[in-house]
């Protein structure tokens, strides 16, 4: 950090940064400066000379954070809380096609915003959930639904795990049964124990009633 601080280029950048700051507190400008000269900002933090300015800079930057949030087109309010609830549920059942592992509700992508707006206006115009889902399916395919529909193509997906579970349970049962059965029957026939088997046989033969 100190090495950075010593370099003239960066102190220059820092001064530029601070003059910009004091001239006009425009958050966008500040943000651009930060992006352009991030080491200058860090170097600036080491400076004892401009302690006040640096804290001011940092403070203003922090309180201005919400200004960096993306502004979206204001959304039309929904007439009733039931509709708002339905919309929320719908958005969490639809997939954002840009960041594919997020729902429409969670995604910050521009397209997700457009689709949310579209779904909202469809909800407001009194369309049912099924109609809205169909609207998006016609355009984006089944992929837009977070839950894939049950049809012949997705049988393996939906029922495969249960088939595997059933198969596994069956194998476990079968192996267990076999093991118990073998434990009962293989004592006499276990290989390598010929001497013991012979002895056992002799004992048995002895006990046969005469």
């Amino acid at each position: 950090m100190t090495i950075f601080f010593k370099t003239r280029l960066l102190t220059g950048a820092y001064r530029h940064f601070c003059s910009k700051m004091s001239a006009s507190i425009r958050v966008c400008e500040l943000f651009k400066m930060l992006v352009r000269y991030p080491p200058a900002f860090v170097a600036g933090l080491d400076s004892a000379k401009h302690i006040l300015q640096k804290y001011l800079c940092a403070f203003i930057f922090v309180i201005a954070m919400p200004a960096f949030a993306q502004l979206t087109t204001p959304l039309q309010p929904l007439p009733s809380p039931e509709l708002a609830l339905r919309l929320k549920k719908l958005e969490s059942e639809l997939r954002c096609l840009v960041c594919q592992n997020q729902t429409l509700a969670d995604s910050p992508a521009g397209l997700a915003g457009d689709l949310r707006r579209e779904v909202r206006s469809l909800v407001a115009s009194g369309k049912t959930d099924a109609e809205i889902k169909d609207f998006l399916r016609v355009r984006y395919g089944d992929f837009v639904l977070y839950n894939p529909p049950v049809d012949r193509k997705t049988w393996v997906l939906w029922f495969g795990p249960f088939v595997l579970l059933g198969g596994g349970a069956f194998i476990a049962f079968w192996v267990g049964r076999r093991r118990r059965f073998l434990a009962l029957t293989t004592v006499a026939a276990s290989p390598g124990d010929d001497a013991k088997t012979a002895r056992a046989k002799a004992l048995l033969d002895d006990e046969t009633p005469k």
Binding site: Q100, L111, E118, R137
Partner: protein
């Protein structure tokens, strides 16, 4: 006695071989699927539009916003609809190929300027070349939803009857152009 031992021995051997090979088979099946997965592109969502009539719209033309363009006016021609934006980095990648296509007059290309600022869009075309017969501006992205657009660049091939025949998502490279798009375009152009 000894025969019973050999029978047990053989079943044990068969069982052991089975126990050895089954996990191996399962393992290689899994590897095969995972290996296939390496070459799949999860961003490539199959278009729901293929084989269906091109969605109609009427959008202002980028360079002459007073005029409107509608896909119906392209009836009788095979044409491309290319979704682009000046904010889209991979559009710049495929742009030289589109310029070539336009220069050789292979097929008319209509630009679909998606969620863009018209001034920035015009500047972008002036800088990188304008292969488009015309571009339409879809500033709020409403029409793009009808076309199932989810990421620029996207290229649709529309046949003479106005049916969407193919869609390519992502930048076109020479391979995609020569092996996928051009053959389809030529085949469609042969159809009366």
């Amino acid at each position: 006695m000894s025969s019973a031992a050999t029978v047990a021995d053989q079943t044990n051997k068969a069982k052991r071989a089975w126990q050895f090979f089954l996990p191996l088979v399962v393992f290689f099946t899994l590897v095969w699927f995972l290996y296939q997965g390496l070459f799949l592109n999860p961003r490539e969502v199959p278009s729901a539009l293929i084989g269906k009539p091109a969605p109609q719209f009427s959008l202002p033309i980028l360079h002459t916003p007073g005029d409107k363009f509608s896909p119906a006016s392209m009836k009788g021609k095979v044409w491309l609809l290319n979704v682009w934006g000046s904010w889209c980095a991979s559009c710049r990648y495929e742009h030289p190929l589109l310029n070539d296509l336009a220069k050789n007059q292979v097929v008319p290309i209509v630009g679909f300027n998606w969620k863009d600022d018209p001034i920035a869009a015009k500047g972008w075309l002036a800088k990188y070349g304008d292969p488009y017969r015309l571009s339409v501006s879809d500033i709020d992205g409403r029409v793009a939803i009808d076309w199932g657009v989810y990421g620029a660049p996207e290229t649709f091939i529309i046949d003479k009857a106005g049916i969407v025949r193919e869609k390519h998502t992502g930048p076109i490279d020479a391979k995609v152009m020569n092996e996928k798009l051009l053959p389809i375009i030529r085949d469609l152009q042969k159809v009366m």
